[in-house]
């Protein structure tokens, strides 16, 4: 039984295995280095800007700009949308109503000035 398992295990490390192990080490080292560099740069850029050299009077605590209030939503128009006719869309009555002339005998009555009718 033991002889059988020993037969399946590597008994020596040949040059090929050594090369592969070395390559794995190099890859792991490179990955570790890259991670370390990334952390270093991240830390550097995360540092706050240096304070101004000159001393300035303390400014009053600035109120954070309030979010601009959006304009109120307009109530939807009850009528059709504007088409350039927003002004006064009512038909206007005349200052004076027409007055029908009393019927006259045709010979006595002169013709009217003009005629209103279909055209």
């Amino acid at each position: 039984m033991r002889e059988q398992s020993d037969r399946h295990q590597a008994r020596h490390v040949d040059r090929r295995d050594q090369g592969m192990r070395r390559q794995r080490l190099v890859t792991q080292a490179a990955a570790g280095g890259a991670t370390a560099l990334a952390l270093l740069f991240g830390w550097m850029f995360a540092q706050p800007a240096p304070a101004p050299a000159a001393e300035q009077p303390a400014a009053p605590a600035k109120k954070p700009p309030s979010t601009k209030k959006p304009p109120a939503t307009k109530k939807p128009a009850a009528k059709q949308p504007a088409t350039g006719t927003d002004d006064d869309a009512d038909l206007k009555a005349p200052p004076e109503a027409p007055v029908e002339e009393p019927p006259q005998e045709e010979e006595a009555a002169p013709p009217p000035d003009t005629q209103s009718g279909g055209s």
């Binding site: 009528k79 059709q80 949308p81 088409t83 350039g84 006719t85 002004d87 006064d88 869309a89 009512d90 038909l91 206007k92 009555a93 005349p94 200052p95 004076e96 109503a97 027409p98 007055v99 029908e100 002339e101 009393p102 019927p103 006259q104 006595a108 009555a109 002169p110 013709p111 009217p112 000035d113 003009t114 005629q115 209103s116 009718g117 279909g118 055209s119």
Partner: protein, 306 residues
């Protein structure tokens, strides 16, 4: 009183496919008034004749839904038409152009064919789809929408001409196909106007009214009528159907402050049919309505002797 009255100086000529009549209270202003009227109507024809390929309103079609610049005259006429449409709840709508063409009214009335086929009527696209900016004088007419200012266009031309001629310092009455506008002081006794189905000639029994200011317009289905698709049709279209309105009123005459308002109300009454008399009365517009059965109804303070 009427028999002692001198008739005011008068000029009459053909224009816009109908008759133009000018009356003035001062004979010396007649020649200049006629010149102004002819010039004004030529401008109107060039701006919004539906039957001229080179008119501004026809050329709007080339913009295919994009904003188009318009002349001051067309902007004002469009504004008047859109306002009339809003005031009549869309019963007088300038977007009925295609419906008029479908009914066969696609050229000057004198040149129309005797008969022909008609496609199924379609409702007008709706005046609210036309966007007019009077400030920048730009209009957006949706692609495929054809405008027809026939109803209010003549009335606007009458208002405009009367105001211009009155600036000569006299009283004026301008009538375009029976839609008339006055401006300035009236003659002694007022302007005498016959009222009937036809603006060209009075029929026996037609009443005569006196007006001193404002305007008077008549819409009638008895004029500008033709045959199409084997039936009698006319020039007043119901924008809601694109077809002829129900035959309730034959002729409606309305008095209003301006000719545009009078014309819009008269045309809207024909289109509205039943209930038009109550609608005019509620609006306070003096009116005389004649039904297809000959009955006469006067409302809104129209003083009748019938």
């Amino acid at each position: 009183m009427r028999s002692l009255r001198a008739a005011p100086p008068r000029a009459a000529f053909s224009a816009l496919g109908t008759t133009a009549v000018l009356l003035v209270t001062d004979g010396e202003a007649l020649a200049e008034g006629e010149r102004l009227l002819r010039a004004g109507l030529a401008e109107v024809d060039a701006a919004y004749s539906r039957f001229r390929e080179d008119s501004e309103i026809v050329r709007l079609g080339a913009y295919e839904g994009r904003a188009a610049p318009v002349s001051p005259l067309l902007a004002e006429a469009l504004h008047a038409a859109l306002r009339a449409a809003a005031a009549t709840d869309g019963l007088v709508d300038p977007t009925v152009g295609q419906a008029m063409i479908d009914l066969g009214y696609d050229r000057d009335f004198a040149l129309m064919d005797a008969d022909g086929a008609t496609p199924a009527p379609r409702p007008a696209p709706g005046y609210w789809r036309v966007r007019l900016d009077t400030g920048t004088r730009q209009v957006v007419v949706p692609r495929g929408v054809r405008l027809d200012l026939g109803s209010t266009g003549k009335a606007y031309a009458a208002d405009r001409a009367a105001a211009r001629i009155a600036a000569l310092g006299c009283g004026v009455l301008v009538s375009l196909g029976g839609d008339l506008a006055t401006a300035g002081p009236p003659p002694e006794g007022g302007w005498l106007v016959g009222v009937g189905d036809d603006h060209r000639a009075a029929a026996p029994g037609d009443p005569v009214v006196t007006i001193r200011s404002g305007a008077l317009a008549t819409s009638s289905v008895t004029q500008r009528a033709w045959r199409r698709g084997g039936r009698a049709v006319h020039h007043i279209v119901d924008p809601r159907t694109g077809d002829l309105p129900a035959p309730v009123w034959r002729t409606v005459t309305v008095a209003a402050r301006s000719c545009v308002d009078a014309n819009a109300a008269a045309t809207a009454a024909i289109v509205r049919g039943d209930g038009a008399d109550a609608w005019l009365d509620e609006a306070g517009l003096p009116a005389r309505l004649v039904g297809h059965d000959g009955r006469v109804v006067t409302v809104g303070g129209w003083r009748s002797h019938a």
